[in-house]
């Protein structure tokens, strides 16, 4: 290999190393997933809950960690300790909801409003047999879709 070729190889290797480091740095510092503009699986709150209720393992595989856009009727609006809005969507199971923690304030939302909410599904929470209540299906980092 002559000096010129050696130089070229070295420069190429250096470039690859710089690119790899830059990519690594980008990955390391990459912020959370863009839920608002990300593509979502669309379904309704009643159907989503029924799928988790019938086969939680299967539903977990299909939806957990994915961006979902869920439509439904609002049954309650409250604030959590971080002052984020919690919107509960109606299901056909008493005491159980699709429980959405809003990342962005959706403005005024009233009970019985029909809404469409985009968020990341984290699965079905635990219920309490003695209480006779079932767990909610949770969506986090939610945005209201207008």
């Amino acid at each position: 290999m002559n000096t010129m070729t050696k130089k070229k190889v070295l420069i190429s290797l250096l470039l690859v190393a710089i690119l790899a480091a830059a990519f690594g740095y980008y990955l390391f510092n990459k912020g959370p997933v863009d839920v608002k503009n990300g593509s979502a699986v669309k379904l309704d709150a009643i159907g989503l809950y029924e799928q988790f209720d019938a086969d939680s393992t299967g539903a977990l595989k299909n939806y957990s960690g994915k961006i979902l856009q869920v439509t439904g009727l609002v049954t309650a609006v409250s604030l959590n300790q971080k002052k984020e809005k919690i919107i509960l969507l109606k299901t056909n199971t008493g005491g159980a909801s699709v429980n959405c923690t809003m990342e962005e304030d959706p403005g005024e939302i009233k009970i019985n409003d029909a809404v469409s909410i985009k968020g990341i599904c984290s699965g079905m929470g635990q219920g309490d047999e003695d209480l006779g209540i079932k767990g909610d299906v949770y969506l986090t980092r939610c945005f209201l879709i207008k």
């Binding site: 595989k61 300790q81 429980n99 699965g123 929470g125 635990q126 003695d130 949770y138 980092r141």
Partner: protein, 184 residues
């Protein structure tokens, strides 16, 4: 006269019972963890904790979906779920136990009451007996339970790859806070 007395007694016992035997719960409690490390501190929050507090027995339950923890960086969240907590295999962490000295708490007087809690903490498919202290806060009839405790990762077989061992503390600080806004 006697039957009237018995009637009053029955009414007293039943109403008193219904006032005291109560389950308080929330489906949106808070839990966070913090790990101090040389390169970068690691922290995450979760606002979707299910917790039930039974009165007057003091039974206490928490259930947390691992995927509800959120990090500032997506790579950390991915590693946390896939490499450390294996959240597809073990989607929940739970605590089932009891407040041993709930009688210390005067639910009719506002204040902070320090209590002892013991129970089973299950994380990553491993269950360990644990003891910690917590604070029950009574404010205008609203009950809040908070606790800070340490979790040693090795106790729950959460293994850290050698390459990042220096960057992740062996023990993480966990904070739990639940406002019991629902009751049955």
């Amino acid at each position: 006269m006697q039957s009237r007395f018995i009637f009053i007694l029955i009414v007293f016992i039943t109403t008193n019972f219904s006032l005291t035997a109560q389950k308080l719960y929330t489906k949106n409690g808070f839990v966070s963890f913090f790990s101090k490390a040389s390169i970068e501190n690691i922290s995450a929050e979760n606002n979707q904790v299910m917790s039930v507090l039974t009165l007057p027995s003091g039974e206490l339950q928490f259930s947390v979906l691992i995927k509800s923890f959120h990090f500032k960086k997506s790579l950390m969240e991915e590693h946390f779920n896939e490499n450390y907590m294996e959240s597809s295999k073990y989607p929940k962490a739970t605590f089932k136990g009891k407040i041993n000295d709930l009688s210390k708490v005067n639910f009719t007087t506002d204040g902070n009451y320090t209590v002892d809690v013991t129970g089973d903490l299950a994380i990553h498919g491993i269950t360990n007996k644990t003891t910690t202290t917590g604070i029950i806060t009574v404010k205008s009839g609203i009950i809040t339970a908070t606790s800070k405790f340490k979790v040693k990762l090795a106790d729950y077989k959460i293994s850290i790859p050698k390459i990042v061992k220096d960057n992740i503390a062996e023990t993480v600080d966990v904070t739990v806070s639940c406002v019991y806004d629902q009751k049955i």
